[in-house]
């Protein structure tokens, strides 16, 4: 009762990742799509840290830390792009931002 199987952590990570994929595919708001990506990154972090526990090495934590750094950089640039898109198009609906299609 005192020990959680490692596979539970990994399956939780997979569930969260799938939820992120679902949000990425089904949502039409740029900001929500972007947040789904963050959810996927979080799911991956959980897997990294679970593996770090299993291997008794801190390296997995370092990977997760780098993921956080990259996510922060990505959020800054991505939100700046979203602001610019909104300024030029006054919409956040991804179907209406399609000038590069065709």
């Amino acid at each position: 009762m005192n020990a959680v199987p490692l596979s539970w952590y990994l399956i939780l990570s997979a569930i969260l990742f799938s939820l992120g994929v679902a949000g990425f595919l089904f949502r039409r708001n740029i900001i929500t799509v972007f947040m789904s990506i963050e959810l996927m990154l979080n799911a991956v972090n959980l897997a990294f840290i679970a593996f770090a526990y299993q291997l008794q090495q801190v390296d997995g934590h370092i990977f997760a830390l780098f993921v956080m750094v990259v996510a922060a950089a990505e959020a800054a640039v991505g939100l700046a792009i979203i602001l610019t898109v909104f300024k030029n198009r006054t919409t956040l609906h991804i179907d209406e931002v399609s000038s590069l299609r065709n």
Binding site: L6, L12, A14, I15, N42
Partner: protein, 167 residues
């Protein structure tokens, strides 16, 4: 205590994750994501990653998500409109295929990870700030420097994109 704690916070994380995908309003989605992050921070603690649990709160929930909320409030984004031209095939097959994918992954994990591998709270004590810092600044110094350059570039990019006039 480990199993109930894991189940509780895993349930919170999954519920908030589902809510993120289901809600149409970006603010509700953002709040659900913060809920996921908070639950994950607790799970990190259970896995012995104290520093990352704190970093998760400070960096993810405290800085990145504040930026999201700020942008959503600034743009005063309302609820989402229905998509007009979504392919019918994708709409019908999307969720079943995703469930299938999840099922396969879970099956593989169950098969490949022996049940003897378990996690007990306190089973790994190398996740404190000291251990992390020592590894980061010895073995991973070059990636660390590269990441700092990346962050610098991201700052510059955000500043350039955020200027008033773009010509």
């Amino acid at each position: 205590m480990d199993v109930p704690l894991f189940l509780l916070f895993a349930a919170i994380a999954v519920a908030c994750g589902v809510n993120l995908v289901v809600q149409t309003h970006p603010v509700s989605s953002a709040l659900s994501l913060i809920g996921v992050m908070g639950a994950l921070a607790v799970l990190y603690l259970l896995l012995g990653a104290e520093f990352l649990a704190a970093a998760q709160l400070v960096v993810y929930a405290g800085a990145i998500m504040v930026l999201f909320i700020f942008v959503i409030m600034l743009l005063n984004a309302g609820g989402e409109k229905k998509s007009r031209n979504r392919p019918r095939l994708a709409a019908a097959l999307g969720i079943p295929l995703l469930m299938l994918f999840l099922g396969i992954i879970s099956f593989l994990i169950q098969r490949r990870v022996p049940s003897s591998m378990t996690v007990t709270f306190g089973g790994f004590t190398g996740g404190g700030p000291g251990d992390l810092g020592r590894t980061l600044f010895t073995g991973y110094l070059l990636p660390f420097e590269a990441a700092s350059v990346l962050v610098l570039i991201a700052i510059l990019g955000a500043v350039v994109l955020g200027r008033k006039e773009i010509d």
